[in-house]
């Protein structure tokens, strides 16, 4: 029997096709034209009403340049869009994961404070994540099942395990913290003492202007956020208007 179509994992080779190149060229032309159309509609730096806000334009320009630089990198970056209330993971400038951030009305001042402190008068529009702490988590799949699966696929069960986070935090230095909570009840993965230290650290930053935002995230989304974020991951904050 002759196979109609065959392939082997890890043995292929990418080939350039003229048709694809032509199609991509067409898409780029169309997107360029539609971008031009969109530009005309979007107000930028107060120019729509005839007033020129130079400092706003400079920040906007720096921000766009930074995002352009991040989009050149091979790994994702995090965007806290405090204006639209969205938490985003972007890869090459495209949204690959998003979740709405809902803050209590009383937190609005805190949100503004967070954005101001993060941007530090426009000096740091982007910062890397410098800390991640998991307070409590629960295993996604029972170990007994993973032991069977691991045996079949010849992989150590611990490689297959995913921790569903109950509560974790991301920090960017200067007392800037985002706490993420889910609905499940888990157990401390390391020790209660380390959790206590993380809480103390947060509390000690508060008198020095530290700001801690708290959000609730769906379990599955939290799993991605927890696993995808890492120390050093670039983060952009879009301030609330």
């Amino acid at each position: 029997m002759v196979p109609r179509s065959t392939f082997s994992e890890g043995a292929g080779r990418r080939t350039a096709r003229p048709g694809v190149v032509l199609a991509l060229g067409t898409v780029m032309c169309v997107s360029f034209l539609s971008c031009r159309h969109q530009e005309a509609e979007s107000p930028s730096s107060g120019s729509a009403d005839g007033k020129w806000n130079r400092s706003a334009a400079e920040i906007e320009y720096r921000f766009a340049q930074i995002e352009m630089q991040l989009a050149q990198k091979a790994s994702p970056y995090l965007v806290l869009d405090l204006n639209r209330g969205q938490l985003l993971l972007k890869l090459k400038g495209t949204i690959v994961w998003n979740y709405p951030m809902e803050f209590a009305a009383t937190d609005k001042q805190e949100v503004r404070k967070f954005a101001e402190r993060f941007r530090d008068d426009g000096k740091s529009l982007a910062r890397p994540i410098i800390g991640k702490h998991l307070f409590a988590a629960k295993d996604k799949t029972p170990d007994s099942i993973l032991a069977i699966v691991g045996k079949v696929v010849r992989v150590a069960p611990e490689l297959l395990q995913r921790e569903l986070p109950e509560h974790f935090l991301l920090s960017w230095g200067d007392g800037l913290v985002l706490e993420i909570h889910t609905d499940i009840t888990g157990a401390p993965p390391i020790s209660k003492f380390q959790n206590a230290m993380a809480e103390v650290r947060k509390a000690l930053q508060r008198p020095f202007g530290g700001v801690s935002l708290v959000i609730k995230v769906d379990l599955e989304k939290a799993l991605t956020l927890y696993r995808a974020t890492r120390q050093g991951m670039p983060t952009l904050v879009i301030p609330p208007t």
Binding site: F7, G10, G12, S31, E39, T141, A156, G173
Partner: protein, 215 residues
């Protein structure tokens, strides 16, 4: 007695101070270089002239907008083992999938090594295959403790890959599976497995060139 109390108190204060300093500096002691995600040296100042400044601003914003696919794109979340087909505004398909286990296999006789990861980054649909046959690579035999066959025809398996395979380069595919119960768990050798219904829907919607974002 009084002296002892003073010494103990002094020790407590000393330890407390050390603890506070330690706690405050554990994760906050980063140099400006480490804090800079993008070096200021790569950023250019906005032109002084207003017209030129607006033009430059628009140029960068347009370049950013161009990065976002206009039509459909696939996103594969290897962390949660979820595949979505989406546009910039909406999600059309959201499905359980299985991605690479991250496991390693070393052939004890030759020392050849394989790491079973799903590649991450941006790819595109290179080709679409209906009723694909799997050409079993060497590791598939070696894992079973068997020798790879000399006759090429013995390598082909018509069942393993389901009804469709979407090629995204370097021998990696989105395809079906006979192990649908394992969807949601990272068990593959690098390819992305989907359930048969979701695979059919995905195959219908995507075209050659559809971008695939894997993170």
């Amino acid at each position: 007695m009084r002296r002892l109390v003073i010494i103990i108190l002094a020790l407590i204060v000393l330890i407390g101070t050390a603890l506070v300093i330690g706690v405050l500096t554990t994760t906050e002691d980063y140099s400006p270089q480490e804090m800079a995600v993008v070096s200021d040296s790569v950023l250019t100042p906005l032109p002084q002239d207003q017209k030129a400044a607006l033009k430059e601003l628009k140029r960068v914003e347009t370049a950013l907008a161009k990065l976002i696919p206009r039509g459909l794109y696939i996103v594969i979340d290897t962390h949660a083992n979820r595949l979505s087909l989406r546009t910039r505004d909406s999600v059309i398909l959201y499905a359980n999938c299985s991605t690479g286990s991250g496991g390693e296999f070393v052939d004890s006789t030759t020392g050849r090594k394989w790491i079973f990861n799903t590649p991450r980054g941006v790819f595109k649909v290179n080709s679409k295959l209906a009723e694909p046959w799997w050409r079993k690579p060497d590791w598939a035999y070696l894992e079973e403790g068997e020798k790879p066959p000399k006759d090429e025809r013995e390598r082909y398996d018509p069942e393993m890959m389901g009804d469709y395979a979407i090629d995204f380069g370097d021998g990696y595919f989105i395809h079906g599976t006979i192990y649908e119960r394992l969807l949601g768990v990272s068990v593959t050798h690098g390819c992305v497995r989907l359930g048969s219904e979701d695979l059919e829907k995905l195959n219908k919607q995507v075209k050659i060139g559809t971008p695939i974002y894997i993170f």
